[in-house]
């Protein structure tokens, strides 16, 4: 299991997770399903990276966790965005858009 991830990927994963939680609280499995479905099966998040990311985001204070009951009556840990997390999501989205459009410009340049 690679422990070090290149910063860019880590930042991107955090962005995706935050976005996935914007619609409402869900558990870890739910986050990975969401990301997979919305990206059209393109982005498949490895569990090995998902959970550490969730824990890291919680440590930063951008998401919050709570034990609850899932739809099939099983105990599950639900994550939800905090106000700080919402702010962070907006900031990271802006940043991402800036960077990606810049990269696009470079690529399109003949």
């Amino acid at each position: 299991m690679p422990k070090e991830k290149p910063d860019l990927l880590q930042g991107t994963l955090d962005l995706l997770i935050l976005k996935a939680l914007v619609t409402g609280p869900t558990h870890g499995f739910g986050v990975s399903i969401l990301i997979r479905r919305i990206s059209g099966e393109v982005l498949q998040v490895e569990q090995g990276s998902l959970y550490p990311a969730l824990y890291r985001l919680e440590a930063e204070g951008w998401i919050r966790s709570e034990w609850g009951v899932s739809d099939n009556n099983r105990k599950a840990k639900f994550y939800e965005l905090t106000p700080a997390g919402r702010k962070q999501l907006k900031a990271e989205t802006d940043s991402w858009e800036r960077v990606s459009s810049a990269i696009n410009m470079v690529l399109r340049h003949a």
């Binding site: 422990k3 499995f29 569990q47 090995g48 440590a59 930063e60 899932s70 840990k77």
Partner: protein, 929 residues
Amino acid sequence: MRDRYSVAAYVRRLARRIASVFTGHLADYSMSEEMRLHIELQAEEYVREGMAPAKAADRARREFGHMDGVQETCRDERGFPWFSQLMQDLRYGTRMLARAPGFTCVAVLTLALGIGVNAGIFSLMDDVLLRQLPVNDPSSLILFRWASTKDFPVPVNGSFEVDATTKLTACASFSTPVFERFKAQGRPLDGICAYCDFQRITIVADGTAETVADGELVSGDYFGVLGVPPEAGRAIEPADDVKGAQGVAMISYRYWVRRFGADPAVIGKSITVNANPVTMVGVTGKSFTGTLEVGDYPDVYLPLHLSAGMGQQGLGEMGNTAQLWWLQILARPQPGVSPSQVTAALQGILRQCASESLVANGSQLPSSQGQDLVLIASPGGQGLTEIRNQYRHQLAILVALGGSILAIACANIANLLLARGMARQREIGVRLAMGAARGRIVRQLFTESALLSILGGALAVPFALWTENAFLALHPDVEGHTLQFNVGLDGRVFAVAALIAAGTALVFGLIPALRASSVEVTAEFQGGTNNRGGGRSKLGKVFLVVQIALSLVLVVGAGLLSRTLRNLDRVDIGFDRENLVLFELDPNPSGADFDAGEKVDRAVVERLRSAPGVVSATFSKVSLLSGSGWNAMLRGKVGSATPAEFKPTMLNAVGPHFFSTYGIPILRGRELEARDEGGKTVAVINQAMARECFGDAEPVGQYLEQEDEPGHWHPILVIGVARDAGYDGLRRGSPPTIYFGFDLTRSMASAGATFAVRVSGNPAAIVPLLRASIHEAFPLLPVSHLRMQSTQIENLSGNERMFARLSLLFSMLGVGLVSLGLYGLMSYSVLRRTGEIGLRMALGATPAAMVWMVLRESLLVIAIGVGLGLACALASVRLVSSLLFGLSPTDPLSFAAGTLLLLVVGLIAAWIPAQRAARLDPMIALRTD
């Protein structure tokens, strides 16, 4: 915008990590729960997509990946992973070490010895060579010295040493006028003070007399310039150092504790110093040890102006301090002024004073000779440095010894660790297979080595103290100068021990750790230990070669030094050293009344001779073989022929019965007798002197000439020739010596004769009787420095004895470690090649041939080791050549014996386990995995 890399974010993360240290274990449980749920949900999805439930569960689990690994990664986000890993490593390391108590004990003890000895040596070096004076800002202090290219014949009380920068022979003693005029000059100096060493002072306090070894005469501003506040009371001030001022004194902290029990009421009390009444006004700071030579610790400080009443003996041979060059001068230049500017400014004054001094001493030389003097400003931060520099050599040898033993210890432990690494191949293979990173394993193994080092370092402290005490106890004297130190636990000793421990851990721990972790997992599990030993063996052999080489060097060194010691002990000293008791009487403290002092000496001798158990008694100015002496230039006058050259001669002034007491036979002529005293100058000379001055002619009845002052000499009649006897040292043999009667040397002697008493029977029983007898007749003269002549002679070779013992001890340790190492190597070799040996034996090889095959491995190691060792030994004996006596540094006997010893020990250590090869049963050997 909240940047994840900002300082605030970092602080937040840190805070959460700290918090999670306390809540961590709770989170663990929930983490596994959470992940289990994830797998279940994933499996359900697969079932929904149409997979069989069992297969779905399988796939979900596999896809999730290594749950423990994921949990690990999550945990790394919490707490301080490096810290918990370190704790883990430490716990594991401690367990592993506890499981092998034999190995751990041996390793720790070896390390403790190596680290301790080196730390002790460093502490000694620090005390002797490195430490600055415990004064305010020692680095800005200047110590003045002067050097002259031509003769400067004025009375000087001090020693000469070649100055490193100017290459001239310099002296640090100045006259009082020089000091006063320097002080009056003011300008380039911020402060200036003077001091002088003063020995053998008698202090009477509360009615009890005591002789103190060292004192210091200081100028009024001494303590002010140095900036050392007193521990109690007040310091000596400029007002105290004025002629006619009331006598004051300061005592050292050590003396205050020892003599007065640190009683504060003692301040202000009156005591007598050499019959002068003074008031004790203060105690010097706890860490202040004066500014004298290294190891001299003055116990009392007096103002300079009291020197007149102090008596002659303390100031050496010259009484009148007005013409004497006797003061050491320390100064602080003003800020921004360089030492060369200081010397430029004060040089003229020095030269003027020098010229005046020549005139005042009635010298025949032109007063312009004073113009040749050069003023040198040396760094004063360490005070006087002559004796200090002479210890350099000894300490260098000690460092070499200590370093060697540490290297041997490290090599040994490295080998042991290599072996353990081999034994743990399986365990490491498993850990690697389970996903541990190689770096992690190296770290963990290295932690074990570090643990050993820490334990070794902790135990090293008593060894360090022992080393220091051993060094001091063996009296390493330089020119009769004994070291006195505060031996003790010091932050620096600890720090050095820790540093050395860390260094050794790196050296012996890293390579075996790297080697042990380079395991190929599959090969390991296929049972491949047998064939893979090559790599370890090679490295192990390199370590062994190093060990053998170093041990050989140590053994050769021990041989050389031990033989030197034996040679010294066997020197023919020309007199009988047994049952000879020596002591001094602290004479008339003022010393001015010299006649009375000498009469007292005679009376004492007469009294002693009538005491029970005493065979004979005498006294002499110079005690034989004490390391100190007295010399002058004499020449023989054969008839009225052209006078011969003046030759350096050793002198001694002796009392009645000298030759019979010491057992020195008179070969020609007669002894000095009572009728000789008070009359013409007569003397007895020894054989060496007779040969020097008169050749084969009959010396008795001839005359010698001695120069009193430049251009003026007086004749001396030779009345007898004594057999050659030792004078001041064992190595010098018997120099040309002349013996005078005691009173005839009044103009040149200072009091303080050494009494020698030949006793019959047990000295220990008779000594108290002697003391009582003297005390009865002379209650105010304490007996001091009581010792046996044989002990005094032994002390002369204290250095050689210490080094001989140390090198013997270290070499034995080294040889012991080497044999352990060889034994281990051979055992392992046999183990490794069991299969091969079994095969060969099954094919018809004889057991003897198998032993030889195994043994061959070690022979190469021993041969290379011995060869390397011989080369190193030849190169390094230069270091000790100045200590040797009676043999050359490349003494064949020592080298041959050393080489033989190591060869024999090595062969035996290798042969015993090799025998196991012969006893192998081929059937069993072949089936061994």
